[in-house]
Symmetry: C2
């Protein structure tokens, strides 16, 4: 038991906290060979643990008296709530008690707190939130940034490409990742100012990098699986993710209505549910915040217990496969450390909006 | 016959031109009570018309010797190809021979050419491309800009809101449209610089406008039908549209595979096809370029004959319902004309990338 890996969980973060968090923690403690440190209000967590049928699973409560709300600004959350479940959980990671941290809370607050309290990997200006999207060919595509940075500079996207490729190689097992830049036309001149400048930067660095920059990809390519990694600014990435969530729900609801009265409806609906689960971010959840010194994983606010458990697995695997060390040791990242930052990717904490 | 409305069609624009264009023109000439003026290479169009079984439908060829390619830069297309099907078709509109123009060609070139040769409505800095997306509740949501302007300023988005609301009211029949700003969080402070500034501008103008600005909406709201009009920059809008196209294809293909062997597969697949058609931009096509002095409608490069016919209907209806005059007469647009442009929405032709 003494050598069991410990993962810290912000038990008060999600929309329905702490119930899905506690249930997901119990799943993880049973199935993943980890001990879960639940940061939050002790009385509330004791009740939730009892209701979830806790007996001997390796769980420990880290008392935290405050909770960061979903609509709270990151600045306020980070500056004023010194005893929040977010802070206490991250502190366990910083002190080395935990090897990873998971939160389904306020994304902006988690990003700001992780950047401020844990710091970015030397050479990396800003962390980026990444998620693997399901694709037609079954390979999956890593999309980043999906919401850590609403306003980006070309050099930031250049770094996201490096971190995304390292993730694809180390965690997803892709030998030499194919990286694309999300734009609105395949030609390098198509897109907005940000993508045009980023395209030039990625092209310029391509020869020295352990991945292939394939150029621009379009929205229609995201779910086709034409590349392993797609890079974009956090505003666009977040819109892509949430439009997808909404469209999948709408399409599948319409189909459910269409099948309701059809012969063989039961088989059709069962197929529908299987496909739905693959596209439901609240189900498969667990987005790594790449570029932070230690593993930080952010889940959807509506994370189910299964999604919390999945996010804990992602944190564990990031630790076991030395993801953060791999990013830090990446020659491209080391090179960034040795050259002054240009194009605005200065190493600083994000604007706390 | 003399008073029959005439619509000019760029018959050489789309990916498979001129076949879908010619077939769509014949459908429109038969069903919509319009005469279609086909701009393009006369020999090629004669052959296509014969192959499509043309007999007495009101069709006329406008000879044009050049074609703007899909990957051509807008600058080059507009500056050098003076006898392109795009130019000749737009000229018929400008001269009053046609009451509307349709192209399934190079979007950037159509936008640039329409802006340069027809001009924007006085007070409007830049045109915006709009499309009605299907929603769960069946009302539909108008999304703009979906690709006319990759880089936008707050005042441009403010104008898009006004034009979108006029379209929703005049063409879609919505009494007092609800308008939302696409962002990555419902609170006004959430989003990127552009959305935060645009939010403030829309809020500031809200009291004097014939629509309700409901604030930020998120990606998940796009297909939920929570508002009538959603405003965004053309980069984001184009990504939304193309991600949707790709995701719908991927989801429906996966379902098709899942149903292939199921009992009642035939019924399920038929339901699937119905839903697919509603979400296939190449099928329902026909995006109005709002803010130009006369009706210009842009179709998907992969437009089917049905989509071309639909786009011709959109052009006809824009004329019959005085859409462009309504936008020009909108008090908010008139007010823009009387106050100097701020925040970068200067009346000029778009950067021709």
């Amino acid at each position: 038991m003494t050598s069991m890996l410990q993962i810290a969980l912000d038990a008060m973060g999600g929309d329905s906290a702490p119930v899905p968090e506690v249930e997901g923690a119990l799943m993880a403690a049973r199935d993943l060979g980890v001990k879960v440190l639940l940061a939050g209000r002790p009385e509330r967590l004791q009740v939730a643990l009892q209701e979830a049928g806790w007996t001997t699973e390796p769980i420990e409560i880290l008392p935290a008296s405050e909770v960061v709300a979903m609509d709270e600004t990151a600045t306020r959350a980070v500056r004023t709530k010194r005893d929040s479940s977010l802070r206490v959980g991250l502190e366990a990671l910083k002190q080395g008690r935990a090897v990873g941290f998971v939160s389904a809370g306020n994304t902006g607050a988690v990003v700001a707190a992780a950047t401020l309290w844990l710091g970015t990997i030397p050479g990396i200006a800003r962390p980026a939130l990444a998620t693997v999207l399901p694709t037609l060919n079954g390979r999956g595509t890593l999309l980043l940034d999906i919401g850590a940075n609403a306003d980006c500079k070309p050099a930031m996207l250049d770094q996201f490409a490096v971190m995304g490729a390292t993730y694809a190689e180390r965690i997803l097992g892709v030998a030499r990742p194919q990286v694309g830049l999300l734009s609105i036309g395949e030609e390098s001149v198509k897109g907005n100012e940000l993508t045009r400048e980023t395209h030039a930067l990625l092209r310029q660095h391509a020869a020295h990098r352990p991945f292939d920059f394939v150029g621009n990809v379009e929205g229609k390519d995201v779910y086709a699986g034409v590349v392993d990694v797609i890079v974009c600014d956090g505003f666009t990435g977040n819109v892509v993710l949430k439009v997808s969530e909404g469209l999948a729900t709408t399409l599948l609801t319409l189909l459910q209505q269409a099948f309701g009265s059809a012969a063989g409806a039961r088989d059709a609906l069962s197929g529908l549910q299987q496909v739905r689960a693959r596209f439901d971010y609240a189900e498969y959840g667990g987005a790594p915040l790449l570029g932070i010194r230690q593993p930080v994983i952010i889940g959807h606010g509506r994370s189910t217990p299964q999604a919390i458990c999945n996010a804990i697995r992602v944190a564990r695997d990031a630790h076991l496969r030395h993801l953060n060390h791999q990013i830090a040791a990446d020659p491209a990242v080391v090179a960034m450390l040795q050259t002054p930052h240009r194009n605005g990717a200065t190493a600083s904490i994000p604007s706390l909006a």
